[in-house]
């Protein structure tokens, strides 16, 4: 098989294997299904653009998540400029909270997610990867390009923080 045809086939295989994980990752970060879909598509397009220019990607999964994270950051920046009201006026945009309720019906789950979103980005990242995508600390470490130990420590600290926040939230509602 021609090398470029092989690369194309491999890339499509990566799409089939990673699309769902990447979508979940984006969806739980941007809290908007349509936006998450756009980011997933853009992530794969940009990654292909990079590969097709002749550059080598050693850790494709890590690369995809990095591109997706950069696109999510871009979206956050855009959101700062455009007000939520203006976005709601546009057709096809749902407010994040409404979108979550569409998919996650369990109130308990919603509460946990709300607390996770309050975490610092560095904790939110690993917690979402661990609990939303079911990645092992080893996988997360390879995606983020960090040591497995550092990732495990961050996950534990993140869980503790969520625990504390949930206790606080439960106590205040009581």
């Amino acid at each position: 098989m021609h090398p470029s045809a092989k690369k194309t086939e491999e890339f499509i295989k990566v799409y089939d294997e990673t699309a769902d994980q990447l979508f979940r990752h984006c969806f739980f970060k941007v809290s908007n299904r349509e936006l998450a879909l756009d980011i997933v598509q853009e992530t794969f397009t940009r990654t292909w653009e990079y590969i097709s220019s002749g550059k080598e990607v050693t850790n494709i999964k890590g690369f995809l998540f990095k591109v997706a994270n950069n696109l999510i950051i871009d979206e956050y920046r855009k959101k700062k400029v455009i007000s939520l009201e203006a976005l709601q006026e546009q057709s096809g945009f749902d407010a994040p909270t409404q979108d979550h309720k569409k998919t996650i019906f369990n109130a308990e789950v919603d509460t946990v997610l709300a607390q996770i979103h309050k975490l610092d980005d560095k904790y939110k990242e690993v917690i979402l990867m661990r609990y939303v995508n079911d990645f092992s600390p080893k996988e997360i470490a390879s995606i983020l390009g960090q040591s497995e130990n550092a990732v495990s420590v961050r996950i534990n600290r993140g869980i503790k923080k969520v625990q504390e926040m949930l206790h606080l939230a439960t106590n205040t509602t009581k």
């Binding site: 470029s4 690369k7 769902d20 292909w48 996650i104 789950v109 869980i159």
Partner: protein, 109 residues
């Protein structure tokens, strides 16, 4: 707390792309790949050959210019040489011719 997180994990994992969404993105990605195929990376030999051919063309062009200019110079020098030879010839032959014609005149007399 652990059970809450596990519940969250179970529910989260149910979230995914719908079949239509998945195939829609896949199709547009395939179309994009078709439009933007991989640019073949050149081997050393290919790079060398392309470099060589580019510079060969330029080299041949430069050589032609040099040849053209040098041929003009040579031609001009050649003309000068011919002119000098002719001058020398005229200088040597004409007096001889003139003297011979004088002799003829004298002989006729």
């Amino acid at each position: 707390m652990k059970s809450r997180l596990l519940l969250f994990q179970e529910e989260s994992l149910k979230t995914g792309l719908a079949q239509e969404e998945r195939s829609e993105i896949r199709n547009s990605l395939m179309a994009y790949i078709d439009r933007n195929p991989i640019k073949e990376s050149k081997s050393f030999t290919q790079t060398f050959l392309s470099f060589f051919s580019t510079y060969t063309r330029r080299g041949i062009g430069a050589l032609f210019i040099v040849l053209f200019v040098s041929s003009i110079i040579v031609a001009m020098n050649g003309t000068e040489k011919v002119k000098t030879l002719l001058r020398q010839a005229r200088a040597n032959i004409l007096p001889a011719f003139q003297s011979s014609s004088n002799l003829d005149i004298n002989s006729n007399q």
